[in-house]
């Protein structure tokens, strides 16, 4: 079960890895204490609010102020550039070995353990036509989207998730239902399946499903799980219409997907989670934290990330009453914030909800 296998394919050249290593370090430098943009710009915002004798209300005013500062413009330029550089290097590196990698995915598609259930009739809805975090082709237009995504997140997590430590930790924190019964688990929007396999390891007897609409993601997820020897099933479907029977799951999970859904789909997905999770079952969500009560710079960053980092729906998610939505569809929300950190300053929050 705990074989040490690296399911991430190698990059085409050593220089690609060195280039990405630079981007990883540069990203840390500009987002953290190295360039110290955040604290300095936030202080400028706090000082300006004091000068005006009024707290910042509208994020539009924050934006105007930050973009008048040369330092703010420079920070935005660099934040965008490091993201573009990452994808530029990854796409080129995978292009150079495209045929081989596509062959790899085909090779594993029919091998176990575990199953890969693709839907040849699947038509992606229009709202997924976004290059999320500027990934070229988004989540599904490139047959190698899954490998690109997996490598991209490796850089994003600054090397801290190379052995899926983050996924192991986040799934471990999820509470079990009060009666202790965990026979079936659903990982909604599983992408490359790191949470899916982590659940199977935590509950080795359980039937574990990963659902995602992107076939390229699921192929990578299946290959990875099969290589690791983790018996899970990946199914191509929308998380707002999973196709499972009512109350099929004891535990339903969604890690950082809600902020990538339009409000309409957020609501439909909560409704679907309520439908497929049995009474007393747990629906565990990790996602972006509300930003309304955060520092003015963090509010600015949320807006910037939405507009300039391909996260068009994230602002709406962060402003919505997600607790209220969960309650509205029959969940009891236990307010037990973990104060998780995973690649930014307190940007993530958890909701552990019980189906009533």
């Amino acid at each position: 079960m705990s074989k040490v296998i690296d399911s991430l394919p190698s990059l085409a050249r050593r220089s690609d890895a060195a280039y990405l290593d630079f981007v990883e370090g540069f990203r840390e430098f500009i987002l953290g204490k190295g360039a110290d943009f955040e604290d300095r710009l936030n202080q400028a915002l706090v000082d300006e609010a004091a000068r005006r004798g009024q707290d910042w209300q509208d994020v539009e005013h924050i934006r105007e102020f930050v973009q008048q500062q040369p330092l703010g413009c420079l920070r935005d330029r660099l934040a965008r550039t490091q993201q573009e550089m990452k994808w530029h290097a990854l796409v080129r590196s995978f292009d150079e070995q495209r045929a081989k990698l596509v062959g790899e995915l085909e090779h594993w598609a029919s091998r176990g353990p575990g199953d890969l259930l693709l839907d040849p009739e699947f038509v992606p809805p229009s709202y997924v036509n976004v290059h999320f975090h500027l990934q070229p082709g988004g989540y599904f237009k490139d047959e190698l989207s899954g490998f690109l995504y997996h490598w991209g997140t490796k850089v994003f997590f600054r090397g801290d998730n190379d052995a899926d430590q983050l996924h192991a930790r986040l799934t471990r924190f999820v509470p079990t239902p009060a009666d202790g019964r965990v026979l079936r688990i659903l990982d909604m929007a599983c992408s490359v399946g790191q949470s899916t396999t982590a659940f199977r390891r935590r509950f080795p007897e359980a039937e574990v499903w990963g659902v995602d609409y992107s076939a390229p993601m699921l192929k990578v997820a299946h290959r990875r799980a099969a290589m690791l020897g983790d018996e899970v099933t990946f199914k191509q479907a929308l998380i707002e219409h999973t196709g499972f029977a009512d109350e099929y799951f004891d535990l339903t999970f969604a890690f950082i997907v809600f902020h990538e859904l339009p409000l309409r789909v957020i609501e439909e997905t909560v409704r679907e989670a309520a439908r497929v999770t049995r009474k007393g079952g747990v629906f565990a969500v990790y996602d972006f934290a509300r930003t309304a009560d955060k520092s003015p710079f963090q509010r600015y960053h949320r807006w910037f990330d939405a507009r300039h980092n391909g996260e068009p729906y994230s602002q709406d998610f962060c402003d919505c009453d997600f607790d209220g939505l969960l309650r509205c569809y029959g969940f009891r929300v236990d307010a037990t914030p973990l104060g998780q950190r995973a690649g930014g300053s307190g940007y993530m929050q958890n909701w552990f909800a019980i189906r009533e």
Partner: protein, 104 residues
């Protein structure tokens, strides 16, 4: 970005300009790109020198007096084209026109 999402925050263009002067904006990008290229070279040289040294294979003099054959010359030229594209692709993205269109 030319895609049409369902509502939400409107997305920036594919190549937004952040600094007041688009030429300075491109210069900034090129500086970061150059730094990446420099790091790639330095990393490779460190690895190469360590390997060569540990195997007692090469002296500095060998590098100084190296003469590339035609195949090697072609390979170096191809690598140079790749390098130029990486660093100076920014030049193609500088918008035409005297004014700065805000990134928004």
């Amino acid at each position: 970005m030319s895609e049409t999402p369902e509502g939400g925050t409107p997305l920036a263009d594919e190549y937004p300009v952040y600094l007041p002067d688009p030429v300075v904006d491109a210069a900034m990008r090129m500086i970061v790109e150059l730094s990446a290229q420099l790091w790639v070279e330095r990393e490779r040289r460190m690895v190469t020198e360590q390997l060569l040294e540990s195997r007692g294979l090469l002296s500095r003099e060998d590098i100084e007096s190296f003469k590339a054959d035609p195949t090697q010359v072609a390979a170096i030229k191809a690598e140079r084209a790749r390098f130029l594209e990486d660093v100076f692709k920014e030049l193609k993205r500088i918008p035409v026109g005297p004014t700065h269109s805000k990134s928004g």
